[in-house]
């Protein structure tokens, strides 16, 4: 079915998390981005492992055993504490818009500044 259930998990930073992997159709795996954590489960054989969620952010977990066509896209999300990267992305976006407008504004001003008259005397 290429789906993790639940597909989105939220925990607090620092929590001890135990994953109980139950394979419901074929052999599946569980590999967590950003953590050294890997599990494999066969249908009928639940496996369990614990880790400490000491990095905060949003981490994808993926199936690590080839389980069919959509295997590379069998993905879920683990949210540990705050997703500071996403918040920073929003801030960076606001900054980007501001910077875009400001650099445009200043180059427009530069273009319309009158040039200094050149003094010249002859005689």
């Amino acid at each position: 079915m290429f789906q993790f259930s639940p597909a989105e998990i939220t925990v607090n930073a620092g929590d001890r998390v135990t994953i109980e992997l139950v394979a419901t159709d074929v052999v599946h795996g569980f590999s967590l981005d950003g953590y050294d954590f890997n599990l494999t489960a066969e249908p009928g054989q639940t496996v369990s492992k614990t880790f400490v969620a000491d990095h905060s952010g949003s981490f994808r977990f993926r199936c690590s055993v080839a389980c069919g066509n959509l295997h590379p896209f069998m993905i879920g999300k683990l949210q540990v504490g705050q997703n500071s990267l996403f918040l920073r992305a929003i801030a960076l976006g606001i900054l980007a818009v501001a910077a875009g407008m400001w650099t445009l504004h200043s180059s427009a001003r530069k273009a319309s500044k009158p040039t200094e008259p050149i003094g010249m005397s002859a005689g």
């Binding site: 890997n38 993926r62 069998m74 875009g100 445009l104």
Partner: protein, 444 residues
């Protein structure tokens, strides 16, 4: 021009471009690679991760296209693409250079089929069926085979590179994003062209362009034929600043805007389907022909044809209302579609980073065992599962922010009204909304 560097000023580069051999050799290799990829897909393992065709088309080549060819070379892939070659060789009556005695009807492409519409539609089709295409070596092989056969057939009926110009889904967005790319082919001195009546360059151009009057890099495939045949050595290959074809004075059409919107919608949908945690969405996208797939297709088309164009049109209209500019909405949408170029290009680069870095570990193993046959040419070990590192995530955020910054600047520059701030504000808001959605899908 102050901000152009003519590469043909450097003798080595000039002779490499003028000689037909370097480009021909590269093309012969890409053609051989294309044939190899089709056969690997047809004959090799059905498991995508262990088949050369899937890994090389959708990971290796796609990454090279999005991360290097387009941002650093504009439409540079087209200069070495093997797809038009067999047809062009027949048209030209020769492989190394045109002999003039080719076969083909050489008909003109029908007027009503011109523009980017078909290419946008083609890219939409790929998106609709992408869940299967990207995971099935057989389907990928058949798509590639179909494309090269189609290109060949079209070359025998129509003049020049009909497939590349009007049908190739890749060519559509490569051309569009080439407007922001840092490479262009232009004449050095237009007065030389004015004095030259024969216009050899136009006859030689397989893209049907007038090099002497080339203003936009969209339809120039960097094939260098004009450079080779110009008797006055009047063609330059310039390095230029990014975004040079975008501005208040350049001409743009509504079909470009439509293609730009299709690209944005596809970036959102592909990110959701392939990177999101929604298994039902993925299964729906995969089960082609089933009820759930029709729902998926409906939502896909709704977003691509109605919602996104609607929001964009609303932004353009709001800008006009806020600034009091009087202009037809269609014309304004065509002109302001330029904003979608840097926005879409950076979004696609970011999306490519999100999956390419994790899957790149499959490339060496699949070179070692292209068919999943148990071979081991290079002795490279089996691939691990790969994961997104924090570097990859930061990079994606940075790329999206850069796209928004760039889009903001383009929006401000192109409106050309007395009140660029007021007119471009809704458009900037649209860009920001899109960027927020992409950021949430990729790193949220």
């Amino acid at each position: 021009m102050m901000n152009r560097v003519d590469l043909t000023r450097f003798p080595t580069i000039r002779s490499l471009l003028r000689s037909r051999w370097p480009q021909f050799l590269i093309r012969a290799i890409t053609l051989a690679g294309f044939v190899f990829t089709i056969l690997a897909g047809l004959l090799g393992s059905a498991v995508g991760s262990h088949n050369f065709s899937i890994i090389f088309v959708w990971i290796a080549w796609w990454t090279a296209l999005k991360l290097f060819f387009i941002p650093f070379g504009g439409r540079s892939w087209c200069s070495i693409c093997p797809i038009p070659m067999p047809g062009e060789w027949l048209q030209n009556g020769g492989i190394l250079q045109p002999k003039g005695k080719g076969i083909g009807l050489n008909l003109r492409w029908p007027k009503f089929l011109r523009g980017d519409w078909l290419q946008a539609g083609g890219f939409m089709m790929i998106g609709l069926f992408s869940a299967v295409t990207l995971t099935s070596p057989l389907v990928t092989a058949l798509v590639l085979l179909g494309i090269i056969v189609l290109s060949l057939v079209l070359s025998l009926v129509f003049e020049r590179r009909a497939f590349c110009n009007y049908l190739c889904p890749i060519g559509g967005f490569t051309g569009l994003y080439a407007q922001a790319g840092p490479v262009e082919v232009r004449v050095k001195d237009s007065s030389v062209c004015a004095a030259h009546s024969e216009k050899t360059c136009y006859t030689a151009c397989p893209w049907g362009q007038y090099p002497l009057a080339l203003k936009s890099s969209t339809a120039c495939g960097l094939c260098m034929e004009c450079l080779r045949v110009c008797p006055k050595d009047n063609i330059a290959v310039n390095l230029r600043p990014w975004g040079s074809d975008l501005g208040p004075k350049t001409k743009h059409r509504l079909d470009e805007t439509f293609l730009g919107l299709v690209m944005l919608a596809s970036a959102l949908i592909d990110s959701a389907v392939f990177l999101g945690p929604w298994g039902e969405l993925k299964s729906a996208a995969y089960a082609i022909g089933s009820g759930s797939w029709w729902v998926f297709a409906g939502a896909f088309l709704l977003l691509t044809l109605v919602i996104l164009p609607g929001l964009f049109g609303l932004a353009v209209w709001a800008g006009q209302k806020l600034s009091g500019v009087k202009e037809s909405l269609g014309k304004a949408m065509a002109q302001q579609g330029q904003v979608l170029v840097p926005l879409g290009m950076m979004a696609w680069i970011a999306f490519t980073v999100s999956f390419a870095f994790t899957k790149f570990g499959y490339v060496l193993p699949v070179v070692s065992d292209p068919l999943g046959n148990g071979w081991n040419f290079l002795g490279t070990a089996a691939a691990g599962v790969g994961q997104e590192t924090s570097t990859s995530l930061f990079l994606q955020v940075g790329l999206l922010a850069l796209g928004l910054f760039w889009a903001t600047r383009v929006a401000g520059r192109i409106t050309g009204s007395k009140n660029p701030g007021k007119q471009s504000a809704p458009l900037i808001a649209f860009s920001a909304l899109f960027t927020l959605a992409m950021a949430w899908l990729l790193v949220g």
